[in-house]
Symmetry: C2
Subunit: 206 residues, 2 copies
């Protein structure tokens, strides 16, 4: 966790990436908001001012880390539900939507610090850094799949946003360490069922 090919070389190493990884690891432990550049530099065996050769200031590091967070979330989506694949039945489409929700919640739980950063004052930039489609595209696709198999009605942007914010709220509430005692995972499926119910019987648009 400390070394990163920066050992043998006296003065050089791939800092920047090492700093990002360090922050990512700290985020995994939940202690991101209190991350210290000096401590990081110390642990990476480098002088305090070295980080400023790669990041304008602490916020710049946090900002890029937040961006990486969306990348990591997309990777998790891809692992749980390859973007290229398609649903082959109604029950399959439904199962995929639930899997997406569960991945979302699980990510928030396992990377609480990063999660907070992503949706905090920084973050929410979500340009697609790699070739992967931005995270929102997974949701659109899952909803479209369900609509195609008749599980729900066709969705507009407003309905998409509803589905997103419903799962997002669930994640935020369940990921909070304050609700740690009730760490049950099953409600996610039921929540998704309720979202599907709403999208299957949408309110009459006035």
């Amino acid at each position: 966790m400390t070394d990163r090919t920066a050992r043998t070389t006296h003065h050089h190493g791939n800092l920047k990436e090492a700093l990002i990884d360090y922050a990512l690891a700290a985020a995994h432990a939940g202690a991101l908001e209190a991350l210290s550049l000096r401590q990081a530099s110390r642990d990476l065996g480098v002088s305090p001012g070295a980080a400023y050769r790669h990041f304008a200031d602490r916020d710049a590091l946090l900002s890029t880390v937040a961006a990486r967070g969306f990348d990591a979330l997309a990777a998790r989506f891809e692992a749980a539900l390859p973007f290229a694949s398609e649903a082959t039945s109604a029950v399959e489409a439904r199962r995929r939507f639930v899997a997406l929700g569960e991945a979302y919640v699980a990510f928030a739980r396992e990377n609480y610090g990063l999660w907070r950063l992503m949706f905090g004052p920084y973050g929410l930039t979500w340009v697609p850094p790699t070739g992967r489609p931005p995270t929102y595209a997974w949701l659109e696709k899952a909803l479209d799949d369900m609509a195609r198999w008749g599980v729900i009605r066709p969705v507009d942007a407003s309905a998409q946003f509803f589905a997103w914010s419903a799962i997002h709220g669930l994640s935020d509430l369940q990921a909070s360490p304050a609700s740690a005692p009730s760490r049950t995972q099953e409600p996610v499926e039921h929540q998704c069922a309720l979202i599907i119910a709403a999208l299957a019987n949408p309110p009459a648009k006035k």
Copy 2:
């Protein structure tokens, strides 16, 4: 904003409350996570160490401020929708539920820093500090009212949690300064309509 009956008296004043108010004001401006005890003490005309006579450490202050946040939210609910009142029709019950959701979102927007604190690592203790019922009770009551007038089916704890997390997610996403450009308020009503749709046609429980 600086004075608080602590002026004339040379050494005393109602610190503690002044500190909480100071933090609350800072929260209103959004700059809570970066609140400085020294700066606060300075602005309140008191020495740096004075705060520690009332709070064990910085986190203790933030923690009580978070608790006050839930109190302020309850006050807002009460203002928008007196707890003692009852819905007198189906459309009224529905209107009240929407008003609750709008109050929730508005509070998150106007007190972003406090909002983040309340649902962050601190907070979520929500003991009812004053005589008011805890915030969650408003939601329960609004849902029960709607069920009583046939707007939705009777709700269980799981359905309550669904409604809460859906509105909570909406608040969190819309309150984030990153989504400031799209500061439209109308979607709240539509979101609530979708929540109602879900609770009116709940999924068959297996």
